[in-house]
């Protein structure tokens, strides 16, 4: 791999899989946080947030 610095070898398939799984876990956690903040905001504001004059 010519684009890697000297002394750094490419990842083995096992290492690449480990990194992929970890990236996926981080993505899922971030997605869960988005949902958590959305749900929390709705819960804090209450149902009346949907009943406002247009």
């Amino acid at each position: 791999m010519s684009d890697l610095p000297d002394g750094i070898r490419p990842l083995t398939p096992e290492e690449a899989q480990t990194r992929r799984k970890r990236s996926l876990a981080i993505a899922l956690t971030l997605g869960a946080l988005v949902i958590l903040f959305f749900v929390l905001t709705i819960a804090k504001l209450g149902p009346q947030v949907l009943q406002r004059p247009l």
Binding site: G7, I8, R9, P10, L11, T18, V39, K44
Partner: protein, 315 residues
């Protein structure tokens, strides 16, 4: 040093870019079994509070209390990696086993600590968030970094960290700390020494190897046995306090009396049997029963207050 790329054999003279640990190893850093206990006791702290709270907010609060507890467990494993490597019970944990680098664990623990406290504050209130932050600091800094290696009273004082979740739970749903959660705190706090010392009697050799001043190593097994009996004599009546304060009913009273007698019987056995296999069996018996005792006490409160089974005991 054990590296994370042990499987690499093709080119041993060059380094792989930082790969990091497996997801399951990060999960193991959170001490999932302890997290389950924390969720359980914090939930009971919420339920006995008789508060009207949005269930979504209560669930998010509970999740953050669990994540905060996991974060403190992670920081504990980061700090204790050197002594964990010396004991068979802990040698296979992710850091001493080389599956996760210490700096990864430290970053993970700090991010989760700060995140859980902030989200708990936003979801419920800042009293609960402050109490959670105090719990994390108490466990990771006061207990892990100081008490554990300094005094035989380590798990007595450090037990406060394990006893705080019901208090945080009550604060999260009510905004204050009431007598109910303080009683639950006291029960777990007094329960901790006989529970841990029973195990320490059996594992004293391991603790000695790691240089941890557990009570049997410092004061000797006989003194530890006496102290187990004293703490259990305190615990058995204290376990009935919820009945006298009106939030434990008949079911709780029954379990409290029978469980308290069981604890006393176990402690007396540990005190009496001091030789051979019977000594080990008595200690492990008390250790196992103490878990069942606490679980049943809290389950009774959950059933009575959460499922409406509460029937007052007239005292």
């Amino acid at each position: 040093m054990t590296t994370l790329s042990n499987s690499v054999t093709a080119d041993t003279h060059s380094f792989a870019p930082a790969v990091g640990g497996e997801v399951r190893d990060f999960f193991a850093l959170l001490k999932p079994r302890v997290m389950v206990l924390v969720i359980f006791t914090a939930l009971v702290g919420m339920v006995v509070s008789d508060a009207t709270v949005n269930p979504v907010i209560a669930a998010i609060s509970l999740l953050m209390i669990a994540v905060g507890a996991g974060a403190s467990g992670c920081l504990n494993m980061w700090w204790d990696a050197d002594i964990d490597a010396l004991m068979t019970r802990t040698a296979k944990r992710p850091i001493p086993d080389g599956r996760i680098r210490p700096d990864e664990a430290l970053s993970f623990g700090i991010v989760l600590s700060v995140g859980s406290v902030l989200i708990l504050g936003l979801a419920s209130n800042w009293l609960a968030a402050g109490l959670l932050a105090f719990t994390i600091v108490f466990y990771a800094v006061i207990y892990s970094m100081w008490l554990k290696r300094a005094t035989a009273q380590n798990i007595v004082i450090g037990g406060a960290a394990g006893a705080l979740p019901p208090v945080v739970g009550q604060a999260a749903v009510t905004g204050h700390v009431g007598i109910e959660s303080l009683i639950l705190f006291a029960i777990i706090f007094i329960w901790t020494p006989p529970h841990f010392w029973a195990l320490a009697l059996v594992k004293s050799g391991e603790y000695a190897k790691a240089g941890i001043p557990m009570m049997p190593n410092v004061a000797g097994p006989d003194s530890t046995r006496r102290q187990i009996v004293w703490y259990t004599l305190l615990l058995a009546p204290l376990g009935l306090a919820p009945v006298f304060f009106g939030f434990g009913g008949w079911l709780y009273a029954l379990i409290g009396v029978l469980g308290g007698l069981g604890m006393l019987a176990g402690a007396v056995q540990v005190f009496r049997l001091r030789e051979g296999e019977s000594e080990r069996k008595a200690a492990m018996g008390l250790f196992a029963f103490s878990i069942l005792y606490l679980f049943l006490l809290f389950s009774a409160l959950l059933a009575e207050q959460g499922l409406g089974l509460y029937r007052a005991v007239v005292v």
